[in-house]
Subunit: 396 residues, 4 copies
């Protein structure tokens, strides 16, 4: 019966029933006129969610990893230099992909728990006077550490240094849940997937390109076929797709955008902030701290919680799964065993969040950690009470 509990992993997220249904379509002929309508609506919806009026949105039957490959394979050439910082597992993996593609990655090492080093980026860019650096890779929200970085700052660093490098942003665990400003931040390629803020099953890799990124496609010589945005663009123009599309997921994406935009992106962001603040209040009440170093780095989609020295944080995850049927995220890479993660993005209510907090509490007490039952819940309740709809006293 445990399947009925919500999950608290940082994606795939809990799915609203309406979106599961939108994905579960009977077979539709993707060469009929129905298909381009829903495809274009989904692409338009994603553009709006990205706060953009110009982004060219490409959607692949793939994942966020495919989105990373789409970004680099379409815009760069073997040996091209790119700038990136490693501040968690996912920035690490994107860097690794670049290296395997034969790119020359200048990696800035950053402590896990820190954000992207905007000042260092600016320094490096200023020093690159002959503009060898073709692209800057920026992980907006490090899912492994629960750290949100300052993408506007990276744009400022580029502008301040007068550097023409492309700005690639991994927004896999931020887009649709935390403010993301494709146009205002001058993003050149934004990458995401279907299974986080869009509250859908995994299966779509999404890459949004600026005009500048599209121009780079023409000269880029890295090999690509499946992820070639030119084939994709040609398909879209002809009202179709270069191969068989995931019609159901695309329909789900369209409905997900409608659902987000109906709620209002500001309300969506505020909801994520409120729920995250409840979780953080609980963590404080437990006497524990976040992996993220400072409040301005706190992610509103995932919290990585440091456990005491000598305690294997992974035990909380496996015990919560086994004893209570609730999934949390384990620590990855450098912070494996040191943190456990509570995902709080996507389709989540305050009430659901409280059940996750209560479960984490039980699991920690079970495992001998010095945590007071009910303490985190009470702290979160205080947050949720203050921010819930004002009491309709008059009506009662």
């Amino acid at each position: 019966m445990s399947l009925q509990n919500p999950v608290f992993i940082p994606g795939p997220t809990n799915m609203p029933e309406a979106l599961r249904r939108a994905c579960d379509l009977p077979t539709i002929d993707h060469r009929s006129s129905v298909f381009p309508e829903l495809l274009n609506a989904a692409r338009q919806g994603v553009q709006t969610v990205l706060s953009s009026t110009v982004a060219e949105v490409f959607i692949f039957p793939s994942t966020g990893t495919g989105g990373w490959e789409t970004a680099i394979a379409n815009t760069l050439s073997p040996g091209d230099k790119v700038l990136a910082a490693r501040n968690g597992m996912f920035s690490h993996k994107w860097i690794d992909m670049c290296q395997r593609f034969g790119l020359d990655v200048q990696v800035i090492g950053v402590e896990w728990g820190e954000g992207l080093p905007v000042a260092t980026f600016e320094e490096v860019l200023r020093e690159d006077v002959d503009h060898q650096i073709k692209a800057v890779l920026a992980t907006h929200n490090e899912t492994a550490t629960g750290v949100r970085s300052d993408i506007a700052g990276v744009r400022t660093a580029l502008d301040a240094s007068g550097h023409p490098a492309l700005l690639f942003v991994d927004g896999v665990s931020s887009i649709g849940s935390m403010p993301f400003e494709f146009d205002a931040w001058g993003v050149d390629v934004a990458v995401t997937g279907s299974q986080k803020g869009f509250m859908l099953p995994a299966g779509l890799g999404i890459a949004a390109f600026s005009a500048k990124a599209l121009a780079a496609v023409e000269t880029a010589s890295l090999p690509r076929t499946f992820f070639d945005v030119r084939d994709m663009a040609k398909g879209y123009e002809a009202g179709g797709y270069p191969y068989t599309p995931s019609v159901g997921l695309l329909n789900g994406l369209n409905e997900a955008c409608k659902m987000l935009l109906d709620e209002g992106m500001d309300n969506v962001f505020a909801r994520h902030t409120r729920i995250a603040e409840g979780v953080r209040a609980a963590i404080g009440a437990w006497g524990m701290s976040l992996c993220a170093r400072r409040p301005e780095l706190y992610s509103d989609t995932v919290s990585a919680i440091c456990t005491p020295e000598g305690f294997d944080a992974g035990r909380i995850v496996s015990h919560a799964e086994n004893a209570y049927g609730v999934s949390f995220g384990a620590g990855l890479g450098d912070v494996a065993g040191k943190v456990f993660r509570i995902g709080h993005l996507g389709s989540l209510t305050d009430v659901m969040a409280l059940s996750g907090i209560a479960t984490a509490e039980m699991a920690m007490v079970d495992l001998g950690l010095d945590v007071q039952l009910g303490s985190g819940v009470a702290a979160a309740q205080s947050v949720y009470r203050q921010s819930a709809a004002p009491l309709a006293m008059a009506a009662e």
Copy 2:
């Protein structure tokens, strides 16, 4: 988004996804050979859940109320005397139905919060030396007050007084969730519905008859057509149904019985007890008391919680719905405004129960009640921790 929270009403209950799917069948010809197979399996399953090897199970496209009517219209004649006690809204309604059918109901008034008056029943039955009383009506679990009565005791009263009256038991909010012994208790008609312990949508009225009750059908002269068990029996014998059956719901009922029996009825009952004890621990931590007067009356499927004098308990229900998107049960009849109810039956996990407790807590604090945030949750967590699967320390 509130639809994703579990409900905490005392039925209809939360439905496991597998059962929703079992109900959602494509159109199946109910005159084909598929139908009698699933019908008979469902009837057999219900018999087993009732702890019976003899009950003849009739299933109507209807509700528990239709089950009440099935019990009396098939076995009694106009003017027949029946004995019943009024200890809550649902016993009251069944009595009312009897009176509208022209039966002569001897009603024992009982304070709401008390159980059925077994001793008084025995007294009345002893005094009825010429056996005018044809049936005793017994509400196993009063959903309005959260009171479980002693059906074995009622059987003992009948036996001790050597009285041949039929024993009719309303098990709508007990069957499938709390021990129910059709054979051992000598029940003659047991009534229930699909939407409680069976975790299905409403839409089925279920009435199980003993051989003695079936014998009474032959002489009973109350009018019945839709609810005539003779038509139903004739349909079953012919591998069909007297009219168009709810094939999907019957399939769901079959699957629900399998699900309960796979878990094991003892485990199902233990789960309900554990979850109920957590809820009761929370209520104690809030400094509040149950409508049910004594521990042996406590229901494991619903708790009716008394709120302080002068406070309208209905406000908790409406505020929880409006502010947090969580449904509780309001007080009904004599206890309207005096209690609110937490339903904790059907498809529920400890984790889900904690979210309900946390929500009730917030709602009560919002409304100015003297309740400590987190206090009920902590009390319930203590219960759930102790009873959850023992920590697999070795493996970790």
Copy 3:
């Protein structure tokens, strides 16, 4: 794999996926504000489908049979005289129910295959000068014989004879599929279910009352509790229901009405007529005849097809099921073994109808009947071709 074929029984009908989903709701608190909204919308929708602005629509967790009981139990008293004709299995069953309720039914025997005897009705009503007859029962569409009767004619008979009897119409297999004029025909109680023209699972009995019928409720003394429209009305007024409603089915009914009204009732009726004409053309091509005696009696929802003398028509039904996985309707009662039935109502396309015709053809040839493969299909194709959307030549 046979489940994927459409069914061709005269109900339950094939269900559009959108309606299955509308029925498959998660648990919704039926005491919350969501419920009365969907209930009232469904009641309003049914009223519109009935072509009425005055009908008071009552919806029971039940079936059409429950609707029959609702009609008579709420308006009549023991010993009341009612007038009815027996021209098929379903009119027969309704008469039987009346007799079991202690009503005095004046039954006009009619050959199966004929419609209601309007002239005889008028004669009988004229002779009933002291208005002993309290109600006339009229089966609009005899599902057993595929005969549609003239309800407007029955109304005329009542009016011409100046008789005040109530007019009860069984519209189970006509409402939502063939024109039904509650107001224009002066219907007093119209009865239907969810599983025919509304394209839903079985589980709802629907009874619509005129003001005159509602007035009769006050004086009627037949016993009723579950089907008491006064309890139902009281529930509706309070924004609820007298017992636990089938929330999902009610939501489905609301969506079904929207679907029908969006298509437009005239278009719905025209679609049923077109598909029925194709089926009838096929029957003609097979050299067979309908049970219905004359074209003006032909039903647009079900065709009962006479098979040659000495041939057991039931073999077609069982062979089609076993060999091809397709369900047809068998003959019932007086025409058992003499006819088989093709249901062509509800959610059906011309293309689906052709597959049913093709299957019937194969089954008949398999069983040695003198039928030409493809002949019925060709005849139906000719009908469907002429009536399909005109060929968009210009665009091509």
Copy 4:
């Protein structure tokens, strides 16, 4: 309402409801122990469907096109020579992909409608004495022309010439529907997708590798990251996945394999043959011919039908869609406008096939082609009657 008609495109195919449900899972933590179980079961199932005990099955969130890329990018190096024949749109596209990857493709031109030129392949391979050719690409079933080629023959050509080239087979529209012998044919990489014989939504690219192909992975230098089978293999070994998997689709794939293996692959193949023969009988009755030149080339999954000179075959497809709500496949590439295609693979019954044939017939007559209504249906009925389950005369 047209969505309720089956589709007759050569994939995505009609989906059994059980498989749609298997795909529509609630969120499951892909790092929990549930995931590797279903992943391994799906991989094992695919291996069995491939008639292999050795194939290493890799499954990507992708499509068949991604499978093509997986085959070549993992096993070849820039400039490597490969041998292929172009006999339809899909062989053409795979060749194009190779060229874009910088491979040196020796293309044998073949008339569309012909199979792979086994003799020419053998000749070329014999001439390639220093084994410059690293791989032979073979499209088992050309979806564009409805031509099935002789893969065993290609293997024989390789063996006869003593050539060590890898054998890559595109089985996208054959695997799971027509005999495919991974081991017996010595296939090195077999490619398919989820949306054809597996009767699932699009979204999975499947590539099965022989030990020899896996050995080639070690030395191949074409760039790959998303499609790198080494990452995938490493993920599998660790009980996981290199990125976020499509859990629902993988579960669906597992269920699809079970469904196929429960039916028995021989029965599945026989069913496809029977349905295809009915379609071909219809085509013959229409006086038309297949694009496939000879019976031994006839595909059992798709028929491409030549329309008369001067007639635009695409009109049949668009008219059937617009007037009857039925999807057929249009001609692609060299045969665009010259053929239309009937897909007859996946979840299809004889009865469904008849409705497709009947619709094609109506559409052709509407458009003025010299076709007799009912003629194709009758021809197909004759096929289906003979091959349906023998008439159970005794029982009747």
